[in-house]
């Protein structure tokens, strides 16, 4: 393992290019294939604000919001995963595995049952993610509460097990809701269990989602240097000048909002938050100043590609993106568990 600043710096432009290519692929492929030239033309029309009724224009209007939402969701989930892995100093951490997504899903379902609108659902989802995270830190890490002086890091397997239990609890809540729900509501509820982008058809929702992603990533980046020190243990980071308790609280809140936003947009998509930081660290090392943006970009690419494949595999049927990310994520997770 050698320090490779060039490779680390080169990763970001490559990932930005990858994001653009995956976006183009998402627009081109599906039940109907559109060629690139027509797509670009339709995009120009869209930018001009003209009402485009061509095939390319129609396809673009359907696929662009979905692809952009997918990018934001993947970016948010991977950011959450990278932050959780650094905060818990555990390479197996992931918002889905640790029950953070589950908490958000449960709360979102509750919001639906209470008849809340889109904003209410999003707020509930963020609240649910936050509750699950706080529960996780209080139970397993015992370092969330109050005082500045950091305790020794807890047993890392305990953190993971606690998270898995929280996830199971949330899954039980969701199953109960599913079995009690009227048949007509079943399909929308499965959405919260598996993760699905088929509801993302509004550009008006995709734009703020992208904005939220950029904002949360920028906030995370401000703490990336301090996070690097936290990797060496709470006590060491504290003696090296990091106000660890404040940093931890800030990043937990950030992670909760990011996961909550992602779940509110697309349900509980699993394993993106786990796989993306792993792949990134493998190539660029563990400097969080590079890992956070690179993992976030890779997460965006992964979700957009997984969703595109889901739309193509059984076209015109659409497979939920969460099923596809789990198909890739679970083997990677097990492989990593063997190595850990």
């Amino acid at each position: 393992m050698r320090l490779q600043p060039l490779r680390a710096a080169g990763a970001l432009p490559i990932l930005v290019a990858g994001a653009l290519v995956s976006l183009l692929a998402a627009l081109r492929f599906g039940s109907v294939e559109v060629d690139t030239g027509a797509l670009l033309g339709a995009m120009l029309e869209l930018v001009r604000g003209a009402n485009d009724s061509s095939l390319a224009g129609t396809v673009l209007a359907l696929r662009l919001p979905r692809a952009l939402t997918g990018m934001a969701v993947g970016g948010l989930l991977a950011l959450s995963g990278a932050l959780l892995q650094a905060l818990l100093r555990n390479p197996l951490a992931d918002p889905y595995v640790l029950g953070v997504s589950g908490g958000a899903s449960c709360a979102a379902m509750l919001a639906i049952a209470l008849g809340a609108g889109a904003v209410g659902i999003a707020l509930f989802a963020a609240g649910g993610a936050c509750s699950a995270l706080v529960l996780l830190f209080v139970l397993a890490h015992r370092t969330l509460l109050g005082h500045e002086a950091p305790l020794e890091p807890g047993r890392d397997s305990a953190v993971l097990l606690t998270g898995v239990m929280i996830a199971s609890l949330c899954a039980a809540g969701l199953s109960l809701a599913l079995s009690l729900a009227p048949d007509g509501r079943l399909r929308t509820m499965v959405f919260w269990l598996l993760g699905d982008l088929s509801a993302a058809v509004h550009l008006g929702l995709a734009a703020p989602a992208l904005l939220a992603w950029a904002l949360l990533l920028a906030l995370g980046l401000r703490d990336a240097a301090a996070l690097n020190l936290l990797l060496g243990g709470e006590m060491q980071a504290y003696t090296q000048g990091v106000a660890t308790a404040r940093l931890r609280r800030r990043l937990i809140a950030l992670t909760a909002v990011a996961t909550g936003a992602a779940v509110a947009l697309a349900g509980a998509i699993g394993f993106v938050g786990f796989v993306a930081p792993h792949l990134v660290r493998y190539f660029v090392g563990s400097d969080q100043r590079v890992v956070l943006p690179a993992a976030s970009l890779l997460g965006a690419v992964l979700v957009v590609l997984a969703d595109t494949i889901g739309r193509c595999l059984a076209a015109p049927l659409q497979l939920p993106v969460g099923a596809l990310t789990a198909l890739v994520g679970v083997p990677v997770f097990l492989w990593q568990l063997q190595r850990a």
């Binding site: 393992m1 050698r2 320090l3 892995q85 100093r89 555990n90 390479p91 005082h147 500045e148 002086a149 950091p150 890091p153 890392d156 240097a225 301090a226 690097n228 020190l229 990797l231 060496g232 243990g233 006590m235 060491q236 504290y238 003696t239 090296q240 000048g241 990091v242 106000a243 660290r281 090392g285 563990s286 400097d287």
Partner: protein, 263 residues
């Protein structure tokens, strides 16, 4: 008379129900090298953590650089004292040089976005600290692949890179071979204007390194004094509960355990 860099007044340290240190009055002045000596579980690590401000004391007060320890901010503290623990957490692959550079966080925090020249300066300083601890060749290695002895010297190098006048060291040579034990302590002692408080299990290393010693018995009692006065046959025999004989080899004091275990 110079003011003490670190001073405690009536400091109590407790671990659960057990009193480790009672009413400790300690004055460590700039340039002094203190050895912290005592049997297993006497509270050496807990006292170091308390003096570093990582945990609160259980009574009394601690003054660092003339002010109450709690009145300094986390960032200011990092500029005043470094703590080198004897346990490390390396969850992800990280190059050695990166962990040493990270210790400079406090010094970089205030600076604007570093110019390239400043970055090169940082790296040169990190490499110098690594060289001092005889691990310059490890700079590009992954910390997780080092031996415990190597990892310990890298941690010491990171502690040096923090450039704090007071260094609190927890068993700094516990994983070192005989050559590195001497080398590490000699190089630390050779640094100008550095003050040390080091928990040491090896009495002979303590006798060679330290100007002063703080003996902790583990029942709350303690003795602080110059190395000559504190590290004696009588005190050490009583402290460890076994007969310890003092010899003289090449004008160095050498302690050998010769007794059985007193009941």
């Amino acid at each position: 008379m110079t003011a003490a860099l670190l001073a405690t007044r009536n400091l109590d340290v407790r671990f659960g129900e057990r009193w480790l240190v009672r009413a400790l009055d300690l004055e460590i002045c700039a340039g002094e090298r203190w050895a912290l000596v005592g049997p297993n579980g006497a509270g050496k690590t807990t006292l170091l953590h308390t003096l570093a401000g990582v945990r609160a004391g259980d009574g009394g007060s601690i003054e660092l650089a003339g002010r109450d320890l709690r009145s300094w901010s986390v960032e200011q503290l990092a500029g005043l004292r470094a703590l080198v623990a004897d346990r490390w957490f390396d969850p992800f692959a990280t190059p050695v040089l990166g962990t040493v550079l990270a210790a400079r966080y406090r010094l970089r925090a205030g600076a604007s976005r570093s110019a390239r020249g400043a970055l090169v300066g940082e790296e040169a300083l990190a490499r110098k600290c690594l060289a001092e601890m005889d691990c310059e060749a490890l700079a590009q290695r992954d910390v997780r692949q080092l031996s415990r002895g190597e990892r310990q010297r890298v941690a010491l190098a990171a502690g040096l890179a923090q450039e704090a006048p007071l260094m609190l060291l927890d068993e700094p040579i516990s994983h070192q071979d005989p050559r590195h034990q001497i080398q590490v302590l000699q190089r630390l002692a050779g640094r100008a204007n550095r003050t040390y408080l080091a928990a040491l299990h090896d009495i002979n290393a303590a006798a060679r390194f330290a100007t002063h010693a703080l003996l902790l018995a583990g029942d709350g009692s303690w003795y602080a004094g110059t190395s000559q006065r504190a590290l004696t046959r009588e005190r050490l025999s009583a402290l460890f509960g076994t007969e310890i004989t003092q010899l003289e080899v090449d004008s160095h004091r050498v302690f050998v355990s010769t007794g059985g275990i007193s009941p």
